[in-house]
Assembly symmetry: C2
Homo-oligomer: 272 residues x 2
Amino acid sequence: MPAEHHTTPRTSSTPAADQAGGGWHGNPAAAAELLWGHRPAPKRGPKPALSLEAIARTGIEIADADGLAALTMQSVAAALGFTKMALYRYVPGKVELVALMTDIGMGEPPPLGTARDGWRPRLDLWARRLFELFLQHPWALETTVGARAVGPNELRWLEHAVAALSGSGLRGHEVLDAAVTLAGHARAIAQQEAAVGSGSSAEQSLGAFIAAVLPAHGHRFPALAAAVTETVELGGQGQAFDFGLARILDGIELLIAARTAEGGAATAADQA
Amino acid sequence: MPAEHHTTPRTSSTPAADQAGGGWHGNPAAAAELLWGHRPAPKRGPKPALSLEAIARTGIEIADADGLAALTMQSVAAALGFTKMALYRYVPGKVELVALMTDIGMGEPPPLGTARDGWRPRLDLWARRLFELFLQHPWALETTVGARAVGPNELRWLEHAVAALSGSGLRGHEVLDAAVTLAGHARAIAQQEAAVGSGSSAEQSLGAFIAAVLPAHGHRFPALAAAVTETVELGGQGQAFDFGLARILDGIELLIAARTAEGGAATAADQA
DNA sequence: AAAAACTGTGTCCCGCGGATACCGTGTACT
DNA sequence: AGTACACGGTATCCGCGGGACACAGTTTTT
């Protein structure tokens, strides 16, 4: 329902747009315009029966239910009761549709409280919400790798994290790096959790795998086997996210303490 | 050149093996056998002109050079001078080939030094090597998402990290969680760096993007814009990886200090 | 009324992963 | 020896997915 995400032109991407190196998928300019551009809504032809919102939402439903592999132009169109080619009147290509799905799927970032609450609980909540979001939309883990166009919602999320650290005394790049680190942690652990499906945690899955491989090859991984068996014996649950989050926040707290101990006057004077 | 990765049977995966939820790609048992199984090397037919090693290496070259999208059975076979169907005598399917490429691409984990060096420099080196590895093989970021079979090399990497933390006083699941957190950090930041290609860093790319979007929408991201401009003005380079790594290691150090302060006797007595 | 702008559809093409049948080649058994 | 069998490589075929293209129907403007 936000103001973004309107109708689109037929800017198409190059046929063989998959470049080498760290290349983009699809046409980044087209995706950016899809995500950020306001289309003035045409006045001449018949009324559009579809909308970007509806298409993206349908795509999200399919990807949530059956995974990203089940997301085809065909499946999306069929779920909407249209031909697959009808979608191309709204979306320049599948890559751009996925980008739109990603940004809409992220949604508005949640409120984190005011500055009086302190940076730590706000960042903690932020990271947890992001983590839950990745668990809700596991396909987003796959769609947010590599070069891509960033949407407004994704940027809003980042804005919230940066805002939480604004008055903390950290320098600009440190604030950004902290946000990126936290987001990366949520992403990475969500990938582990999503990999084993629902019900079990990364450590449990790893333990089961080790147990399966151990009779033949386990002797080569002594430290790993010991840690896994100790974890399993103690009924260790999957708390990799909580663990890492606490460690990262502790580290940030340490740095903030060091920065404030330097004295607030020379905030931007020195750089190591 | 390791002892693993030999010839393979023609165990094929189910035609429609792409399941829903956190489903596997391909047949995990086939992939596991590819990665772990020793095939006794057949005795009857003509000599194989190819080898798993050669196929996987060729695939790695293609993926390194032109990205994972350019990796097709056709391209691999053509680079080897064979038909694409010849590959299926060695590899049950593309998914398994990618899994093999991933494990071979990781290679042997580097030596980290002895226990007398302390856990921190060893973990630091480990994370940096892993980070560099992801930068060398950006496609590995895509192939290590979701449910997949873990290969021996990948497990050796994990073993090394766990070994570095073995005598530190952390509990089993804490050791595992620390390793997972560090690996996730390397992965996540490498994803950001790989996204912008070579030459620029994540913050610079973000800054450029913000600068491009700012005239139209920048006012909605005040904290972000401030942090970015401060970073750009100070010539802040991309050190998100270093920053996060230092924070995580600081946090781990804090926890180890707390654990050792509890006294080594009651190591496994309590759990919060 | 006619032209212009726009939406949705039918048809086609190419490239991909993979199944299958086939032929050639080499070893092992009688 | 010869022969049966096992195995490697190839040719052909299929279904599916993304997307180009031309066309038909609808609504507004001239």
